[in-house]
C-alpha cells in the first residue's frame, strides 16, 4: 500500500555523534549533586535552627519541620554520595558527551542572554531576538524565514497576552515608544 512509504523526513545534520567523547560519567555528576545537596541541607538546617526548631507547648515551632526535613535530605544525600561512589553501573554510563554538551549549551546560553535582555528590552523585543537569532544561527534557517517567523510569533504573543488577556509583562523602550 502507498501508505507504508515514508513521507515525512526531517534531517538533523549536526546531530551529536554516537562516538563523541564522554565529558562526564553519571557517577561523577551524581556525586557532585549529592555534595551540593548535603551543603544545601546543612545551610537550611542552620537557618532553621536559628529560627527555632524545638517543640513548644502547642506543637512545633516554625523551624521544626524544615529542620528535620533538612536532616532527612542531608542523610539521604550522604547515602547517595556513598551509593554513587560505589556504583559500577553509574560509572559506565555517560552523563553527557562533548557533542551533546555543545548542543545543550547552544540552547542554554541563548536562553541566558534572553533573560538578561528581558530586563533592558522588555520581553517582546527579547523574544523576537531569541527566536530569530536561534533559528538563523543554530537552526541555519534562511534569514527572511527566521525574521518573518519570529515577527509573527512575537506579534501573536503580544496580542494574546497584552491586548486580549491583559497579562502584564516586562516592557522596554520600544513598547514605551508606542505608548503601551
Amino acid at each position: 500500500m502507498a501508505e507504508s512509504e515514508i513521507e515525512i523526513v526531517v534531517e538533523d545534520p549536526d546531530a551529536p555523534a554516537k562516538n563523541s567523547p564522554v565529558v562526564s560519567s553519571i557517577r561523577t555528576v551524581d556525586m557532585v549533586v549529592s555534595v551540593l545537596l548535603v551543603a544545601f541541607a546543612g545551610l537550611m538546617a542552620f537557618d532553621n535552627w536559628r529560627t527555632g526548631m524545638s517543640w513548644s507547648f502547642d506543637g512545633p515551632q516554625a523551624g521544626y519541620l524544615p529542620f528535620y526535613l533538612s536532616v532527612i535530605l542531608g542523610g539521604a544525600s550522604l547515602y547517595g554520595l556513598g551509593a554513587a561512589y560505589l556504583s559500577k553501573t553509574e560509572l559506565r554510563k555517560s552523563f553527557v558527551t562533548r557533542d551533546q554538551l555543545r548542543r545543550v549549551l547552544q540552547v542554554f546560553l541563548p536562553t541566558l542572554l534572553f533573560i538578561i535582555a528581558i530586563q533592558w528590552l522588555g520581553i517582546y523585543v527579547a523574544s523576537f531576538l531569541l527566536v530569530a537569532g536561534f533559528m538563523r544561527y543554530v537552526g541555519r534557517i534562511a534569514w527572511w524565514k527566521s525574521v518573518v517567523t519570529s515577527l509573527v510569533f512575537t506579534a501573536a504573543m503580544f496580542i494574546t497576552f497584552d491586548v486580549a488577556f491583559d497579562v502584564i509583562m516586562p516592557k522596554g523602550p520600544l513598547e514605551a515608544a508606542f505608548g503601551r
Binding site: 513521507e7 519541620l65 526535613l69 539521604a76 552523563f95
Partner: protein
C-alpha cells in the same frame, strides 16, 4: 441518581458558545503539545496556565483540562507514525503501533489508539462521576489530623512503591517539601530560610518550578538527542474507522483490564506512564500468543492507550475529591485552582457545584470532540513535525518565560525558572524522580499547616494521628507503605526459610 442530575446541570454550564470555543482551543493546543517533542502534558498546562488568570474558574479549568485531553491524544500520533513517543506514557504504544505503521496499517493503528484512549477515559470519567461525590462526602468528616495522614500516605507511597532508588525518591520529596517552607510561615508568621532576601519572601512558587522542571529542562534534553526523524503519513478514512470499530468487541477483555489498571494507577500516584506499560504487559501475558506482540498487533495499541488515558483521567478523582493530585498534570491543575481562588478539597463539591460538574461534563464532551478532531485532522498534526526544532525550541522557551513571569509579576521568577530547568535536566539524567518533587511542592504547605493545626488542636500530642479508627488506619497504612520494600523483603526471607530449597527460585521478578 443525584449525580446524574448534577451532571446534566454541568452540561448546562458547558453548552454556551464561549465554553465550546474554549474547549476547541484547548483541545487543539493540547494535541499540538502532545505531538511536539519537548513539550508534554504537564508543561503544556503549566505554560498556558497564565492565559487563564483573568478567566472565571470554570472556563479556565475547562480549557486547561482540554489541553490535557488533547495532549493525551496527541502523544499517540508521533509514537505510531514516527516511532517517537511524544509523551512518556506513549512509549508502550510504539511497541506495536510503529510496526503496524511500517506494514502500511498506520491509519488502523491511529484509529485504534484514539478509540481506546476514548474508551479508557470514558471509563475513568464514569468512575469520577459516581465515585468522587461519595469520596468527597466522606472526606467532609476529615479534620487536620486526617488530612495530614492522607498527605503522609501520598508521600510515603511514592517512597515505598516507586521504582527509582529509594534514597533518590527521598531526596526529591524532602527537597520539594523544604523549598515549600521558604518564605513566611503561615502559622506563626515568622520568616524562615529567606536569608534576608526580599525575593524569597514570597516563597518559591510551585508553577514557576514546574515550568522550569518540565518545560525548560525538556528542551535541554531534547536538544542533545538526534532530532532527525523519518515517519509515515496517514489519513484516516471512514472505512478504516468502521473496520477498527467492528473489531472492538473482540477485545473487550483487554479494554476492560486496561481501563481498570489505568484507573487504579491514576488514583494512586502511579501515573499514566506506569499504567501504559502495565496495560501492555498484562495484555501480553493474557494473550494466547504473547510472541506476536511487538510485531504490529492491534491489541498492543489498545492495551497501553486505554490504560494511559484511563489513568490520566482518573488522576483527577483524588484531586477533585480530596485535593490530592494523582499525577503531575493534576498537580498543576490543582495549583491553578488555588490561583483562581478556589480551595481544593472535599468542600469543592459543596461550595462550587458549577465548577466541579462543569469540569466533569467537560470531560465527557472534551473526549468526544477530541476523538472527532484527531480522527479527522491527523495529517495536519503529523505535518507539525516538519517544522524544525530550531524554530520550536525558542518559542517554547519564550512561552515558558512569559508563563513564569505572569504568575507573580516577578523577574526573579524567570531566573528561578532557568535554575529549575537546569536542576530538572540534571535530576532526570542522574535518576532523581521529578514527580515526588512536584507533588511535594504543591502539597507541602497544606501538609505542614494541617500537621501544625492538628498539633495545636491536640496540644502537641503526636498520638492524635492514632486517635480514632480512621486516622489511625491511614497513618498506619502510610508507614506500612513507607517501609514496604523492607516488609516484603522480610516476608520473602521468611517464605524462603519455610519452603525447602529444592523448590528453587521464587517467582518474583
Amino acid at each position: 441518581m443525584e449525580a446524574f442530575g448534577l451532571l446534566l446541570q454541568g452540561f448546562g454550564v458547558l453548552l454556551t458558545w464561549k465554553m465550546l470555543a474554549l474547549m476547541m482551543v484547548g483541545l487543539v493546543l493540547g494535541i499540538f503539545v502532545g505531538v511536539l517533542p519537548g513539550l508534554g502534558g504537564p508543561n503544556g498546562v503549566a505554560i498556558l496556565l497564565p492565559l487563564t488568570f483573568s478567566m472565571d474558574p470554570t472556563s479556565a479549568i475547562v480549557m486547561l483540562s482540554c489541553i490535557y485531553w488533547g495532549a493525551l491524544f496527541g502523544g499517540a500520533i508521533t509514537s505510531i507514525l514516527f516511532n517517537i513517543p511524544g509523551e512518556a506514557w506513549s512509549v508502550a504504544t510504539t511497541f506495536d503501533g510503529y510496526p503496524m505503521a511500517q506494514k502500511g496499517r498506520a491509519a488502523e493503528a491511529l484509529t485504534a489508539a484514539f478509540t481506546s484512549s476514548f474508551i479508557g477515559s470514558l471509563f475513568a470519567v464514569l468512575l469520577i462521576t459516581f465515585l468522587a461525590p461519595s469520596v468527597a462526602t466522606f472526606a467532609l468528616r476529615f479534620g487536620p489530623p486526617e488530612f495530614f495522614a492522607v498527605y503522609l500516605l501520598t508521600f510515603c507511597s511514592f517512597v515505598g512503591l516507586g521504582r527509582e532508588d529509594k534514597h533518590k525518591t527521598i531526596i526529591s520529596l524532602s527537597l520539594g517539601l523544604l523549598l515549600c517552607g521558604i518564605g513566611m510561615d503561615t502559622v506563626s508568621g515568622q520568616l524562615r530560610m529567606t536569608f534576608g532576601s526580599t525575593e524569597l519572601l514570597r516563597g518559591i512558587n510551585f508553577l514557576v518550578a514546574v515550568i522550569g522542571l518540565f518545560g525548560v529542562s525538556e528542551i535541554l534534553l531534547t536538544m542533545e538527542e538526534r532530532l532527525a526523524l523519518r515517519g509515515h503519513a496517514a489519513a484516516i478514512t471512514l472505512r478504516t474507522v468502521w473496520k477498527v470499530w467492528r473489531e472492538l468487541p473482540r477485545y473487550w477483555a483487554t479494554l476492560l483490564r486496561s481501563s481498570v489498571i489505568g484507573s487504579w494507577l491514576g488514583v494512586t500516584p502511579g501515573g499514566a506512564i506506569a499504567a501504559s506499560f502495565m496495560g501492555y504487559n498484562m495484555a501480553k501475558r493474557f494473550a494466547r500468543d504473547p510472541k506476536s506482540f511487538g510485531t504490529g498487533r492491534i491489541e498492543g495499541v489498545f492495551a497501553p492507550e486505554t490504560a494511559a488515558h484511563a489513568s490520566g483521567t482518573a488522576a483527577l478523582l483524588p484531586m477533585l475529591a480530596l485535593g490530592i493530585p494523582g499525577s503531575g498534570t493534576a498537580a498543576i491543575l490543582l495549583g491553578g485552582l488555588m490561583v483562581w481562588g478556589l480551595n481544593p478539597g472535599p468542600l469543592l463539591f459543596v461550595e462550587h457545584k458549577d465548577f466541579v460538574w462543569g469540569l466533569i461534563a467537560s470531560m465527557y464532551l472534551g473526549n468526544v470532540v477530541g476523538l472527532v478532531i484527531v480522527l479527522t485532522t491527523v495529517p495536519l498534526f503529523a505535518a507539525v513535525l516538519r517544522v524544525p526544532f530550531a524554530a520550536i525550541a525558542p518559542m517554547i522557551l519564550v512561552s515558558c518565560a512569559i508563563g513564569a513571569f505572569a504568575i507573580q509579576n516577578a523577574m526573579f521568577d524567570i531566573w528561578l525558572m532557568l535554575l529549575f530547568g537546569v536542576v530538572g535536566y540534571v535530576f532526570k539524567k542522574i535518576g532523581i524522580p521529578l514527580a515526588p518533587f512536584t507533588l511535594a511542592l504543591v502539597l507541602g504547605n497544606r501538609a505542614e499547616s494541617s500537621f501544625r493545626l492538628a498539633m495545636i488542636g491536640a496540644g502537641g500530642d503526636l498520638t492524635v494521628f492514632w486517635s480514632n479508627g480512621l486516622v489511625g488506619t491511614i497513618t498506619t497504612l502510610a508507614f506500612t507503605l513507607l517501609f514496604w520494600p523492607l516488609i516484603s523483603a522480610l516476608f520473602e526471607r521468611g517464605r524462603r526459610l519455610l519452603v525447602p530449597v529444592k523448590s528453587g527460585r521464587s517467582g518474583r521478578a
